[in-house]
Structure formats: structure tokens, C-alpha cells
């Protein structure tokens, strides 16, 4: 076999990953994903190895619950047949490889810069002089928004081509948030430095990214995580989901000018994140998840508190939702606004909520379970319209579902404190992969070590990486005044994308 099948959070020796020439690699990858909606690429990246570039591709199979890993070796000066011409979901990965190393992909429709990283192959172009795609016409006009936006949010540039009020095309250019985080993972050698970096990938998905980092690192070190360590991670992931989904419901209400919903959902987020602070000392859970240990024990007293927090939260949350979904003025803004079809989300390879909104079942909690999710036997919430309404409904229902999971977990607090292993040593010449379902969707972290066991490559993929394109497709033919609500209903990460 020319590929290796591994499980989520498994470490293998790099030598075990079959390496073929690019032609065979391409045939294999295309055969795996085309016409197979149960398989999708979770990560595809390159790294410099002596004179050549090694490409590693990881394809997750949701039916068999495995990840197929395969590799090939190419040169920076190569001009290769693109995977994109057969499967559009690779377009972003190939753009990233092109931007980082200069490899050219034939048949790729648009090798547009991804994020203008500091170590890009072509330093002659900068983000400031990026030529946006335009249409020559006297009837059409362009609207440029950003990088600095009107609200308190992260920077990114949106360029609309409009026909009157109607959006014909939206181009999104990101990269303003690029902090060089993947390189810093290699440069900073202390575990706590790397854990701090993982928390800063996306400050709204602290638990998601730091759990992915912890899993990758523990796997590389052969550390067997215990039930109590995994318990707090599963619990914190679900709490993070509740907090952010509730905040997003507030943001969506703000954008349809529904004050009551905005204020109520906004204030309902507070008891959840305040509980995170009661538990771990930080409202956004920074410092809560660390590889190899559990810095903040979840005590029975905290369980009583959390039960109380949820019991008070739930009736107010449900009452507000009931009202919101009865309001004709709200529903008329939600329904049939910002639609992305099943065919589109499948072809561009969206993940998480942005896939489930259109009937595509992508949820790592059920397809590649980790932590306590195996015991919770998670059943993903799937919607079919792919519009704002579907995205808002998913949020509402996932909050209720997460509360159920948390209550189940609270009845099963594991006993005992695991001895804390802080002297973790990574295995040399190994590859590890971790998939975590954050509130936005699938987070993928991959790590490779060299002969001495030092990190040689660290690759992060935030769910936003693919999902930004779904936003661009969603707003087509909508009125430009519906852009904010479309944007908020996705709520994608800029920093997680730009790294």
C-alpha cells in the first residue's frame, strides 16, 4: 500500500509514511477523495528537506475512523499538475504550498496569496499592493472594507463587486494577523512556551487549539493521558462551545437590529465564561489545558456550581430562543439569506458547523472521537438549507446538546489525581496528528520531529482555513446589507487563519 492508515492522536515514525513520486501520489489522493464525501483532506503541507520539499497529505476517512497519510518529494522549481483541477477542496492547500515554497501548480485556477507570511517564497509583493480581482464595467461598483473594520474585531479585507445593492462577487484577502506562529513553535523549546503559543492561535478557541496541541505533544512523547485529564478537556470544549455559540446568537441579533436578543444572549454568555474563570482563573480558559497534566482539578464543589449555572442559564436561554424564532422580522432576515448548497460545501471542503449547515456530516466528535466523546456517543446536529437560519439553528441546538453532555459528564467525575508528568520527551523522527472538534469545527495539528526529537515542523489548520470561502459564496446575489449577518452567522477566525 502506498499510504499509511492511522488513528486520531497516533504517532508513527516518519519512515513508515510511504513516499512516492508526485504522479503516483496525485493519482492516489484524487482516487481517495473524488466521489467519496466520507473522506476529506484534513491537512496537506510541505516542509523543506535538504534540497527538496516533502509534501505530506492526510485524508480522514469518517466511515473507517482512520486518517490515511501519504507523502511525496518535489522541488521548489517544479511545475506540477494540481490536485485542485480534480478536487476543488485542495485549492487553499496548494495556494499555501505555492506561497511558501514557490512550487507551481498547473491547472490551479488562481494561485492567490493566502496570508503573506514573513518567510514566503516571493518577498517582492506585499499585502499593501495586492491587486484585487475586478470586473471592468460601467454598471458595477466596488466596495472595499477593511483591514480595519467598524466593530471591535480582527482585521481582514473584503472587496465586493456589486450591481447596485446586490453582491456579484466577494473577494476576501487575509494575512493581516500573521504572527509567524508555526515558526515560533520550532524556535521556542520550552513546553510552557509552546502551550502559551497554542492558546494564542485563536483566542476564542483557546480550549480547542490547546487540546489539539496537548494531544499531539502527548502522543509524540508516548504519554498515556488519563481519564481525569481528558475529562476536563472534554468538559471545557463543551463549555467553550456554549459560551461562543451564545455570544454569536447575540451578535446575529445585533446585526438584525434586535436589541432584546442582543442584550439577553450577550449577558447569558457571561455566567459561562465567569464559570471558566472560577475554575481556571481566566474567562477565556487560558492556562487551563496543559500537556501531560491537569493544572486545575475539577472538584465536586465546582460540579455543584456548574449544575447551578446551567440550571439558571437554561430557562432564560430557551425563553429568548422561543421568542426570537417566533419573530417574523427576525425570520425574514434569517431564512434564505446567505445560502451555500451541499454541492458547494462538499467541493470546497468546509468543516464543522459550516458543513453541517448544508447537510454534510463533518464532526470529529463522532467520526474520530477522542477524550470522553466515545462515551458520549455524539450525534451531530445537521441542517439542510445552508442559510443563516440553519447556522443559527445549529448554534441554538448545539448549546442545548452541549448542556446535556455536560450534565452527563458531571455525574461521572473521575477520582484521583494523575501524577503530573512534565518531563515529556518527544520521540525522534516521528509524525503525529491530532484532530479536535472546536466550536467552529475541525482543528488539525500535525507535528514532525528530527533525529534528536526536536520539533522540525509544526502545522496548524484552523477550521476557518476552508470556511472563509463558504462565506464568500454565501453572500453572492445577496444584498450587501446582508453581509454583516452572513459574516456573523459564520463567525470565522482571522488569527486562526493567518497564524
Amino acid at each position: 500500500m502506498n499510504y499509511l492508515s492511522i488513528k486520531n492522536n497516533q504517532t508513527v515514525s516518519i519512515a513508515e509514511i510511504p513516499e512516492t513520486d508526485y504522479y503516483a501520489f496525485r493519482v492516489l489522493v484524487v482516487g481517495m477523495v473524488v466521489s467519496h464525501p466520507e473522506r476529506h483532506c484534513v491537512n496537506y503541507f510541505g516542509y523543506q528537506q535538504e534540497e527538496s520539499i516533502k509534501l505530506i497529505c492526510c485524508i480522514a476517512d469518517d466511515f473507517l475512523h482512520v486518517i490515511n497519510v501519504l507523502s511525496c518529494r518535489v522541488k521548489a522549481s517544479d511545475s506540477l499538475d494540481s490536485l485542485t483541477s480534480d478536487c476543488l477542496a485542495f485549492e487553499k492547500f496548494e495556494r499555501e504550498i505555492h506561497e511558501n515554497f514557490g512550487v507551481f501548480f498547473k491547472g490551479h485556477p488562481w494561485l492567490k496569496p493566502v496570508r503573506y507570511p514573513v518567510d514566503r517564497a516571493d518577498r517582492s509583493e506585499t499585502i499593501a499592493n495586492y491587486p484585487f480581482w475586478g470586473i471592468e464595467s460601467e454598471e458595477l461598483h466596488e466596495v472595499g472594507v477593511g483591514p480595519i473594520h467598524a466593530g471591535i474585531i480582527e482585521p481582514g479585507h473584503f472587496r465586493f463587486v456589486c450591481n447596485g445593492e446586490q453582491i456579484l462577487h466577494l473577494e476576501i484577502q487575509l494575512g493581516y494577523q500573521h504572527r509567524g506562529i508555526e515558526k515560533l513553535f520550532l524556535e521556542k523549546k520550552k513546553l510552557i512556551e509552546r502551550a502559551t503559543l497554542a492558546e494564542a492561535i485563536a483566542g476564542d478557541t483557546v480550549v480547542g487549539h490547546s487540546t489539539a496541541f496537548a494531544h499531539v505533544w502527548e502522543s509524540l512523547c508516548g504519554f498515556e493521558s488519563s481519564a481525569d485529564i481528558e475529562y476536563v478537556r472534554t468538559l471545557a470544549l463543551e463549555l467553550e462551545r456554549i459560551a461562543i455559540h451564545t455570544g454569536d446568537l447575540s451578535a446575529v441579533c445585533t446585526d438584525i437590529a434586535y436589541q432584546l436578543g442582543s442584550a439577553v444572549f450577550g449577558r447569558l454568555r457571561t455566567p459561562i465564561i465567569n464559570f471558566m474563570q472560577e475554575w481556571g482563573g481566566n474567562r477565556l480558559s487560558k492556562g487551563l489545558i496543559r500537556p501531560g497534566r491537569n493544572p486545575f482539578l475539577f472538584t465536586p464543589e465546582l460540579a455543584v456550581r456548574l449544575h447551578h449555572v446551567l440550571d439558571v442559564f437554561e430557562p432564560d436561554f430557551n425563553e429568548m430562543n422561543k421568542r426570537l424564532f417566533q419573530l417574523p422580522s427576525a425570520l425574514s432576515r434569517f431564512e434564505r439569506t446567505g445560502i451555500v448548497s451541499y454541492e458547494d460545501v462538499l467541493s470546497i471542503g468546509t468543516v464543522g458547523m459550516s458543513a453541517r449547515m448544508s447537510g454534510l456530516n463533518r464532526d470529529i466528535r463522532s467520526s474520530h472521537p477522542y477524550g470522553w466523546y466515545g462515551l458520549l456517543s455524539h450525534d451531530p446536529i445537521i441542517k439542510h438549507h445552508g442559510d443563516v437560519y440553519s447556522r443559527v439553528q445549529i448554534r441554538k441546538q448545539e448549546v442545548v446538546q452541549s448542556m446535556g453532555y455536560i450534565r452527563t459528564l458531571l455525574g461521572q467525575i473521575p477520582d484521583g489525581v494523575t501524577p503530573q508528568d512534565t518531563s515529556l520527551e518527544a520521540r525522534p523522527e516521528s509524525f503525529a496528528i491530532s484532530l479536535v472538534e472546536g466550536w467552529r469545527g475541525e482543528i488539525c495539528h500535525c507535528a514532525l520531529t528530527d533525529k534528536k526529537g526536536e520539533l522540525m515542523q509544526y502545522k496548524i489548520k484552523d477550521p476557518s482555513f476552508h470556511n472563509w470561502l463558504a462565506l464568500a459564496l454565501a453572500v453572492r446575489n445577496n444584498e450587501i446589507s446582508d453581509f454583516p449577518i452572513c459574516n456573523k452567522s459564520f463567525n470565522l477566525s482571522y488569527s486562526g487563519h493567518d497564524l
Binding site: I152, Y176, K188, I192, E193, N274, G281, N282, E319
Partner: protein, 252 residues
């Protein structure tokens, strides 16, 4: 209509009546206190992911600290984080907490420009710029204006355009790709204007300090009026910092 009133009634009173005296629940890592107990200072300093711990005497620089609490966890007899959230300062050196000094961090009124209190004492409009911020400080700045913290009751608001603003609030370590937009936005704010740095990343670069993708030149050459530490800064730290900077404090 009735159901709206019912919802309103069910919310009860949400706002914090006095944001200067509110007590935070559970644990919180605010202003640290360093005792004079004997400890291996080198080992403590070595723990820190961002080099915030200085030696002779042992000190913690809140402008660099990520408030992870690792030092307090390993050396509880030496370092403790209190729940004191009033840690904003207008002098960078005041963010350095030294061994044996258990005193609040305060704004130095003599260093506040006269026009700040004259012009912005009753109303302050700010433009926020995220320059590599990870969206945690951005969330907390938004939270400072929700119904609980309700910063706009003091006349402090965030506005959409720099032309409407009295100053800027920067979050994030300032990436190379944001350096120019930041400068353009700052230049667009009419004088007199204030510059506020919110969060550890903005104040020192945090964990990103030294990254080649970061450009700190704007921060280095610009006069900073307020430093609000935190990772992210707590809404109460933000509100109290801005109030102390712009208002004359009532001495009790």
C-alpha cells in the same frame, strides 16, 4: 409585547452597580504579590514562558506576563496572584511588581496630560485596532460594553471611524502586515488623541516578542497614555483603567 416584558423581567438586574468595587468570583489571576520568603529565584524566573520575571529583587513585569500562573503554582510560598483587577498604569515601569511591595497599581495623575482630563473627562470615543490580536482582548473589549459592565454609562464608547475618535486602543503584538494600516488609522484621529495598549501582546509583544513577523516600531515611537495588562485584559481592568486616566479621582 407581554412576552418581551416577561423576558426583561426574567433577566433581573444584570448590571454591576459599582465597577470600581466589584468582587470577582472564584479564582482570578490579577495583581501578583511576591513575598520575601526564601526561594530559588533563578528557578522561578526560568519557569516563565515570556521572561516576565526579573531578578534582584525578584519582580514580575505585568506588561510581559501572560498570567498563566505557573510561577505561583510551583512556588506558592513566594508568589501569589490576588484578585485585584485594577492593574492599568500610565507609566510602563509601574507595571513591574517587585518582591515585598504589596501596593496597588495606580495611574499617576501628574503624568496625565492636562487636555485628557479636560476634554475626555465626560466623554471618550475610541477606535479599536486589532493588530495581530488573537480575538481574546477583542472579546473582552466588546464585553466591557455589554449590559453587565456597561462602560457606555461613563460616556466611553467605541466608534466606527477614526475620524470620530478621541484615541485608539491597540490589541495584539502589531504584525508587519498591520503596521501600515495602524499608522494610517492613528494619523486619521484628530488631535489631541490618546493611545491605549490593551493586553500583554500589545504592551510587550507577549509570547510573540522577537518574532520576525512582528513590527513594533509604531509602539516604540509613539507616546502611550495607558497600559492595560492582561491575557486578555479583564473588562473591569479596562473600565477602571480608562476611568482613572480620564477622571479626577475623588479622594475619600
Amino acid at each position: 409585547m407581554l412576552s418581551n416584558l416577561k423576558i426583561l423581567y426574567h433577566q433581573g438586574k444584570q448590571f454591576i452597580p459599582d465597577v470600581t468595587k466589584a468582587v470577582l468570583p472564584g479564582i482570578f489571576r490579577g495583581r501578583p504579590v511576591i513575598s520575601s520568603a526564601d526561594a530559588d529565584d533563578m528557578a522561578i524566573s526560568d519557569l516563565c514562558p515570556v521572561g516576565a520575571i526579573g531578578l534582584k529583587p525578584l519582580s514580575i513585569d505585568l506588561g510581559k506576563c501572560t498570567f498563566c500562573g505557573e510561577c505561583a503554582r510551583c512556588f506558592p510560598q513566594k508568589i501569589a496572584f490576588t484578585k485585584d483587577y485594577k492593574i492599568a498604569a500610565n507609566l510602563r515601569e509601574d507595571l513591574i511588581i517587585r518582591e515585598g511591595h504589596d501596593v496597588p497599581v495606580e495611574i499617576r495623575p501628574e503624568l496625565v496630560r492636562k487636555e485628557i482630563r479636560q476634554l475626555f473627562g465626560g466623554s471618550l470615543k475610541l477606535r479599536q485596532i486589532s493588530a495581530g490580536g488573537d480575538n481574546s482582548c477583542e472579546w473582552e473589549l466588546n464585553a466591557a460594553n455589554n449590559v453587565q459592565f456597561d462602560m457606555s454609562r461613563f460616556g466611553i464608547d467605541f466608534v466606527a471611524s477614526p475620524r470620530h475618535a478621541d484615541g485608539i486602543v491597540i490589541t495584539g503584538p502589531v504584525t508587519q502586515n498591520m503596521a501600515e494600516p495602524l499608522q494610517i488609522c492613528y494619523d486619521a484621529v484628530p488631535d489631541p488623541k490618546i493611545v491605549v495598549l490593551a493586553g500583554t501582546d500589545a504592551i510587550s509583544g507577549g509570547i510573540f516578542a522577537g518574532s520576525p513577523a512582528i513590527d513594533r516600531s509604531f509602539i516604540e515611537k509613539t507616546r502611550i497614555d495607558l497600559y492595560i495588562p492582561g491575557n486578555p485584559a479583564h473588562p473591569l481592568t479596562i473600565i477602571n483603567g480608562l476611568l482613572d486616566l480620564t477622571r479626577k479621582l475623588k479622594k475619600e
